[in-house]
Symmetry: C2
């Protein structure tokens, strides 16, 4: 069932959308629970099975979700579950959860994790900075499913979730940003610090904090309670735009003051990435960062953002294993990864 | 006058000749002095001028040398003198010597330094392992010039030279070898040690000993006295062939046991060399080594040895400056060098 995923990458990775040169994607996640059932960690297997059946049925009646795949995650083999994790469609915990389910639209933009920490975790992904658009879609789907399924809600607290940090809106909104110039000009630490002071979280998307692999950062809200959804989302969009401004200025300054160094960095990354015969996942991500910057700055003209995103996704371990059709020991994976990079780049 | 040198590289760098995959070149050097004149370091300027005139005249009457350039090295500007040093046609000392002269055949295979340490230093260069051939040519030229000029000779010691280490044959024979596989497999130290025990010298051609830049080594005789020339040359050829055998076995072993690592190393070097926008001379040489190995092993098919040799010669500082037609400060030279590499590779 997952084979069709292999030959595509999510529409959110096409590299389009507003501020696409800095913002990779916008993500809305909403946590909900059925009021008629126990929370996942209290429910027996049969109840979890019931919950999944109800949600799958409701999804298949929903106009946004009617073409979606309804995946019984616990019936997938290890590789397919890792594949979904690598695509950011399910979490590591969800891959191991009892009666775990996934509702997945074929473009990978809309998905619902079933029986993770909460009964439902809606996720809507968009290319570029489009948090409000993603929220509108999430809201409509959620509203229809609420009518059918009945979500747990308290007039005092808002939506009830398994973990108190999600109570209220159940909303986590985040933007995935790429900040190579702030890193190169040593400004990243001060920018991250400023953002964390206004109660937003900025985390390395891979790796942590200032040692983020590939210079990817995720800007998201820390608080879900006491603010309307639009306010939370507007706040993140505003701060993300400020970060974008800083990154843009840092890019302009690098171009003005040390274009040769910048181009050297970009082209060497291209040279290594397109020629290596053995390469680790971490090195790929670290090389993709200057290369993406080169594409953004129109220095590299014959590589597209979509190509870079495909490399990012398809060179992960489970993807490599799935393509190879067999287990790969460490060195084999590094060889297969280098082959895959060249294949995606049409070399 | 030297401009025509710029657009060629010596015929000895065409990368042909026996054992051309390991031996870059063979070099014969003979030191001679005119018996009718004082040694250079004792002679007055006017005498040095006389010496140069006599030698230039004799050279223009010699059938091997009649098309040669007759260059008054002391009248060249700083850049042109550096250019000749970088081409290994004159020594650093010679570039600064009084009334220094150079007889240079247009293919850069035969040359005579005039008024270096000795009145004449013949040099014959060949591609690959061809020491005996080079010696035959040197011998014939020397013999004709001896008849005309009269070289200082003692029946007890042989040819008399300015420095006692050259007395006797006045001969230095050397082979320039490229030993990347012995380096990669950590065998280089033991091979160098074995060779030095049989009274031959092995030196890094750039850099010294086991830290030779670019894995280039020069095998040469240490003793010039008490052995006929043919014996000295046969000895070096024999030892060089043994080194070649060791290097070949090391290459085969690498191919068998870790081809992926080897290819990774080779292709990464190609990737960096053909993409860098800023690059130092040392880095170029260190990247050329695995790339040359790749060409030798037929892993890299669209780059020739001649191309690699051109890069080696033309990316040196004085060559870059000469092409640029102006002084280059450090960063500019590194940028120009990267451009030159891509130009030579037709990128």
């Amino acid at each position: 069932m997952l084979n069709k995923l292999l030959n595509q990458s999510g529409k959110w990775l096409e590299g389009e959308g507003p501020y696409g040169d800095i913002v990779i994607s916008s993500r809305i996640r909403i946590a909900r629970n059925l009021k008629s059932h126990l929370f996942c960690h209290r429910a027996a297997i049969t109840e979890l099975d019931d919950i999944r059946k109800k949600i799958f049925l409701a999804a298949s009646n929903n106009e946004y979700l009617k073409n979606s795949l309804l995946i019984e995650v616990d019936n997938l083999d290890q590789i397919d579950r890792r594949l979904l994790v690598e695509r950011h469609l399910i979490s590591c915990e969800h891959a191991e959860a009892k009666k775990a389910g996934l509702v997945l639209d074929p473009k990978e933009m809309i998905s619902i994790m079933v029986n993770e920490e909460d009964h439902l975790r809606f996720q809507v992904l968009e290319s570029g900075l489009k948090l409000m658009d993603a929220w509108r879609i999430a809201e409509q789907i959620e509203s229809k499913l609420d009518t059918e399924l009945g979500f747990a809600f308290s007039t005092d607290f808002g939506y009830i979730t398994s973990c108190p940090t999600n109570v209220g809106t159940g909303l986590r909104a985040s933007a995935l940003v790429h900040l190579p110039a702030l890193m190169m000009s040593n400004q990243i630490t001060s920018v991250l610090k400023a953002v964390s002071q206004i109660h937003l979280a900025v985390r390395g998307f891979y790796g942590e904090g200032t040692h983020a692999i590939g210079n990817f950062y995720q800007v998201s809200n820390q608080v879900t309670l006491g603010h309307p959804e639009e306010e939370i989302i507007n706040n993140i969009e505003m701060v993300t735009k400020q970060i974008i401004e800083h990154e843009k200025k840092a890019r302009e300054l690098l171009l003005e003051t040390d274009r040769a160094m910048l181009e050297d960095n970009i082209y060497r990354s291209l040279g290594i990435l397109s020629n290596a015969r053995i390469i680790s996942s971490k090195e790929v991500m670290n090389l993709l960062s200057p290369l993406r910057l080169g594409v953004d700055l129109d220095i590299i003209k014959d590589v597209s953002r979509k190509t870079l995103n495909q490399i990012l996704i398809r060179t992960q371990p489970a993807h490599l294993r799935k393509y190879a059709g067999k287990e790969l020991v460490a060195r084999e994976a590094d060889i297969k990864r280098a082959e895959t990079v060249r294949e995606i780049m049409n070399l």
